[in-house]
């Protein structure tokens, strides 16, 4: 793979060319099969955000890698030399020959937050009241007709700006069309870490020394969502020692998962109690007036919210609606621990689209109590300079899991 960056007026264009052994099919680090559509994308930083083209080559290399990794088989050639340490991580953790090599590694001091505006990143933001937000906004690709215009990234970006105005938080919105590089399964990040391209390109300007993400217990430790349904200490995306963890650390931007030990019900509770709560939005389809209340994500988040508030589910969706379809099938489900918690805590669950799932799962308040506490190894994984703050916050607002509860995490998916 050969990678080339060009920049003009804070718009960074990435073009990549496939080596003979490369292919337009590949896999995301989580194992999902992907297909490439085209080989260029752009990243638009706010006007005057950077001092021209002076972005550290390591940052540019990793930003490019979040887009080209699935298609690269053996070798990646960047358009400017990367530090030996970074090249070494490519070799040891990726089995990829990366170059040219030369130059010094970079470092920074501040923690930036990759902020989507959803409950998880909002909970992470609540732990670090002074950390700047970097918000990724999807824009259309000039070569790809946008058939997914129901995705209202403009609304989410608007909310991020409103958050900045109303709360005084430092918010930088970075726009990119890189999601349209994926033909299959649909537009999205080729690697999950592509969401950090803005933070990577702005790291020098913002003096970032770490990037916080809202990945929670399920994503980090329970192999949730698209990943395998098992305890995943070796998670290739989010563990500090995994291939991505090491890569990000090598460019002076280690990943920080402040809510990595917390379940979704807990991040939801924290988000709802935070001063950012009025600006929370997990729905990708709703307009300025509010979430759509009709999509699968709204339904799932409503289950969590109802569980946290110990109230009946408020939804107009029926069991036979498309968004509710997967809850009519038997488990396993992605993020199943959250569904168990919801089914155990929502009164009258047997009259909701989750009735069948609840009958299958047979979860109780007792059997899901472990989800109300923090999995301590998640705190241990946080780089030391931010660990104390997370530790104190969790001791104050959540509390740690007992040994039995820890065992629930570590035997997840085996019983």
């Amino acid at each position: 793979m050969r990678v080339k960056w060009t920049v003009a007026d804070d718009v960074w264009n990435l073009t990549f060319l496939l080596d003979p052994e490369d292919e337009i099919t590949g896999n995301c680090s989580d194992g999902a099969a992907l297909e490439l559509r085209t080989n260029s994308c752009q990243i638009r930083l706010p006007k005057g955000a950077t001092n021209g083209a002076n972005v550290h080559p390591d940052l540019l290399a990793v930003a490019a890698w979040t887009v080209v990794a699935p298609w690269t088989r053996q070798k990646v050639t960047f358009d400017r030399p990367i530090s030996p340490a970074l090249a070494e991580v490519f070799r040891t953790h990726w089995n990829v020959d990366a170059g040219p090599v030369g130059g010094d590694p970079r470092s920074g001091t501040r923690l930036g937050i990759s902020y989507s505006g959803g409950a998880d990143s909002m909970a992470a933001a609540d732990m670090f009241p002074d950390a700047p937000f970097i918000h990724f906004q999807r824009i259309s690709h000039p070569r790809v007709p946008n058939r997914w215009s129901f995705y209202r990234s403009d609304v989410l970006a608007g909310l991020a700006q409103e958050t900045a105005r109303e709360t005084g938080r430092e918010v930088t919105t970075v726009q990119s069309d890189l999601e349209f590089l994926l033909r299959l399964p649909r537009p999205g990040y080729p690697e999950h870490h592509a969401v950090t391209v803005g933070a990577l390109l702005l790291a020098d300007e913002l003096d970032l020394g770490g990037i916080a993400l809202g990945y929670e217990l399920g994503s980090r430790w329970l192999g949730g969502d698209r990943y395998t349904h098992r305890y995943s200490p070796d998670n290739p995306m989010w563990s500090a020692d995994g291939k991505w963890g090491r890569l990000m650390s090598a460019v002076g931007l280690p990943m920080v998962l402040p809510v990595g030990g917390l379940s979704e019900p807990v991040t939801m509770r924290i988000a709802m109690e935070s001063d950012l709560a009025p600006y929370v939005r997990w729905c990708l389809r709703g307009d300025r007036s509010g979430p759509c209340q009709k999509c699968a994500k709204c339904l799932r988040k409503e289950l969590i919210l109802a569980a946290v508030e110990r109230r009946p589910l408020r939804t107009a969706l029926s069991a036979d609606s498309t968004p509710a379809r997967k809850w009519q099938e038997p488990p396993p489900y992605g993020g199943q621990e959250t569904i168990e918690y919801g089914c155990a805590h929502v009164p009258g669950i047997e009259h909701t689209p989750f009735a069948k799932a609840a009958a299958h799962l047979q979860a109780t308040e007792e059997s899901t109590r472990w989800l109300e506490h923090c999995y301590a190894p998640a705190i241990a994984e946080i780089p030391e300079r931010w660990r104390k703050q997370v530790d104190a916050y969790i001791a104050d607002k959540v509390g740690l899991m007992t040994e039995d509860e820890v065992r629930r995490v570590e035997t997840w998916g085996t019983r």
């Binding site: 050969r2 060319l17 496939l18 003979p20 337009i24 007709p145």
Partner: protein, 176 residues
């Protein structure tokens, strides 16, 4: 002489004359008869008078009753007159109502005509919308197919550059 006359004058005439001559000579009995007859006449007259008075009184009463009746009648007439006036007023209102009703009817007729026209227009529009819907569905399908096709063109472009680069490398290697 009388005998003589008797001979010469026929019986009927003789009788007539004799009755005349008898009347001229009133006897006492005749007078008494006459007085009594007069008294009887007087009695009868008095009786008549009394009857007449009676009649008069009756008539007066009748008259009074009539007057009374007349008053009642006049009241009735007045009432009837008022009723008539009221009726006439009512009639006028009724007429106004009818006029208004007619106007409304006319308006309704116009409205119905307009509605009919609108229905006709909507029917045409529906046909147009159906046609547009079909066109949009076709357009949507074509857009999808075009986008899919474009995807392949873009993918092929990446592959072509990959091949070109591979060829260049091989050619360079051969040249050396």
């Amino acid at each position: 002489m009388m005998r003589f006359v008797r001979v010469l004058v026929p019986v009927p005439a003789r009788r007539a004359v004799r009755s005349r001559l008898d009347a001229r000579y009133v006897t006492r009995a005749g007078l008494r008869e006459s007085v009594e007859k007069s008294r009887a006449d007087l009695r009868k007259t008095r009786e008549d008078l009394r009857k007449t008075r009676e009649d008069l009184r009756q008539t007066q009463e009748e008259l009074r009753a009539s007057v009374q009746e007349g008053k009642g009648a006049s009241q009735e007439i007045r009432k009837l007159g008022q009723e008539f006036k009221a009726e006439r007023k009512k009639d006028a209102a009724h007429l106004q109502d009818m006029t208004n009703g007619l106007r409304q009817l006319e308006a309704l007729v116009q409205e119905v005509t307009a509605l009919r026209a609108e229905v006709r227009q909507l029917r045409q529009l529906k046909t147009a919308v159906t046609k547009a819907g079909e066109a949009a569905a076709t357009g949507h399908q074509l857009a999808l197919q075009t986008a899919e096709a474009l995807d392949h063109v873009l993918q092929n472009e990446a592959r072509v550059w990959q091949a070109v680069d591979g060829l260049t490398e091989r050619t360079a290697a051969t040249d050396q």
